[in-house]
Amino acid sequence: MTAVLEIEHLTLRFGGVNALNDLSLQIDQKALHAVIGPNGAGKTSFFNCLTGYYRPTSGVARFQGSDITGLGAAKVAALGIRRTFQNIRVFPKMSVLENVLAGGHLRATANLLSITVGGPGFRQSERELHKEAMASLEFVGLADQFNNLAGDLPYGMRKRMELARVLIANPIVVLLDEPAAGVSSVEREELSRVIRRIHDNGTCVVMIEHDVDLVMEIATEVTVLDHGRIIASGLPEEVRNDAEVIRAYMGRDRK
């Protein structure tokens, strides 16, 4: 077991509200880790702390052994932790291809000089990036949409485009914030297939998901949050039968 993400006593306070309360968690490189919990449990706050959008009040997050707490969002992304957003953040006035190319921003090696004065380095780097971008789009089944404006894509396709944008960066850890929220059952199948394949390629996937069926189907580990606290963590079957989880997440004890 090699933990790619180690979270220790992570706490995040907004005024008097404890959004996250003393979270400790280890996520394995080979995991497809699902984070579930009722609305307001702190799932997205947890992601924001890991990716540098929020600075935790206290506690440490380590990525491959090095401290990433308090690093800026761009720096965290550069390390190989990529994320999607709950309310999808595409660049609407850019084409689908350009959105994905932007995801590969750090892989484009052309420096300022070669961009401005031109040269083989620039062209070479652009050509390779375009190839990778098209490969990523094919991976999520959107290659034929490359020239459309991202803002014109239907919802489900935007979600997949966001995945392609993450994948082009060859991330080590992918954080998906509700990948299946609001998509049709057909799109959901497609997404679950894509997520599973990302995982099969050796990428650690951490996802927030409300769709319990999807979680039980593809996740290898599940963590349940409630009121900023971990109330259960383990294999999907274990968590499903945990009494506290049933009470907090499913409503009340069903007998």
Binding site: V90, F91, G103, A108, T116, M134, F139, A169, N170, T203
Partner: protein
């Protein structure tokens, strides 16, 4: 269109037409410069004429007092403009929209005030007797000559802007314009790229200024005020933010339209203003928004830059069995 522009002075000996065409070219250069800041990176700049002034004054001072050649004086102008871009850039990194507009407006006013009050810049009367632009033995000293100098400059700027737009630099700028938080998730260092935008804009503005000074032989602070900045912003907004074709067209409209309606004397600016309001209501994203010339633009790009045809990279319509990580062991 380029061919038409190239032979324009042959068609007409009318110095007035040539003068208007020259002014339009100059505004195109400035609009292309501002387009990098406002159109690409989405940073509203209401003091862009300041960079134009820096170029013009640097050239004016160096060529009259130090007897530098115009060509040699471009470089120090660019250096000073870039330094000023960083000075205005750093404190405004965290500002957005309205606040940024106010600060840049102030910067424009400061530069103009400095030009009025400094002895070296000739005070309110400015600098005169600026020598002609020359390369080797070719001396440019006619209206038609400067028309060609600026035509070449417009073409260079347009190609340069296009190149920037379709590089990772341009993509990063657009990402920042569209969604700063998402741009960070791409690993884009927001502060750096905002400063780059200011710097590149300043470079284009300053070069335009350096060539404007010899074309007019005299410069005064009045040419670099808020109204000039506003004219440049108008050109960009009318043409279409971020669109190279659009902002050039916008500059032409802003410059030529009031001249065409000169017969209406005092009322012409009123007419122009009303038309502008209508234009912005009906086409809020400009006459030629970013993707208006997409097909043509892509074809020209592939010609000039041997760019990549993404359609050729599609292996199949379906999903490939191997993903982007597949090539790794």
């Amino acid at each position: 269109m380029v061919v038409l522009a190239a032979f324009f002075p042959q068609f007409t000996q009318n110095q007035y037409y040539l003068g208007v065409a020259f002014q339009a070219e100059m505004l195109m250069c400035l609009a292309l410069g501002l387009n990098i800041v406002v159109g690409y990176a989405g940073l509203l700049d209401l003091g862009f004429a300041a960079f134009f002034a820096i170029g013009a004054y640097t050239t004016g001072i160096l060529s009259t007092k130090e007897h530098w050649s115009i060509l040699a004086s471009i470089a120090p102008g660019v250096v000073i403009a870039v330094i000023c871009a960083l000075i205005i850039g750093f404190p405004t990194l965290r500002l957005r929209s309205d606040y940024l507009a106010v600060v840049t407006l102030g910067f424009g006013e400061i530069i103009q005030t400095i030009a009025i009050n400094l002895n070296q810049t000739g005070g309110p009367t400015g600098i005169y007797a600026i020598p002609a632009f020359s390369i080797g033995s070719i001396v440019v000293n006619s209206n038609a000559g400067y028309y060609y100098v600026f035509l070449i400059l417009v073409i260079i700027f347009a190609l340069f802007s296009t190149r920037l737009r379709y590089s990772r630099l341009g993509r990063a700028w657009l990402c920042i314009r569209e969604d700063e938080d998402a741009a960070k998730a791409m690993g884009i260092n927001i502060s750096h790229y905002k400063l780059y935008a200011y710097m590149f804009g300043a470079v284009l503005g300053s070069i335009t200024g350096s060539l404007y000074a010899p074309a007019l032989t005299a410069i005064s602070p009045a040419s670099f005020g808020f109204s000039e900045s506003l004219l440049i912003v108008m050109a960009v907004a009318i043409g279409g933010l971020g669109s190279v074709w659009g902002v050039m067209f916008g500059a032409a409209v802003v410059e030529i339209f009031p001249e065409v309606f000169r017969q209406f004397a005092q009322a012409r600016l009123l007419i122009f203003g009303i038309l502008l309001v209508f234009l912005m209501v009906m086409r809020p994203r400009g006459l030629f928004p970013e993707r208006a010339f997409q097909g043509l633009g892509a074809r020209l790009r592939s010609r000039f830059f041997k760019s990549i045809d993404p359609a050729a990279l599609i292996v199949s319509d379906g999903v490939k069995t191997s993903g982007p990580r597949a090539e790794e062991p």
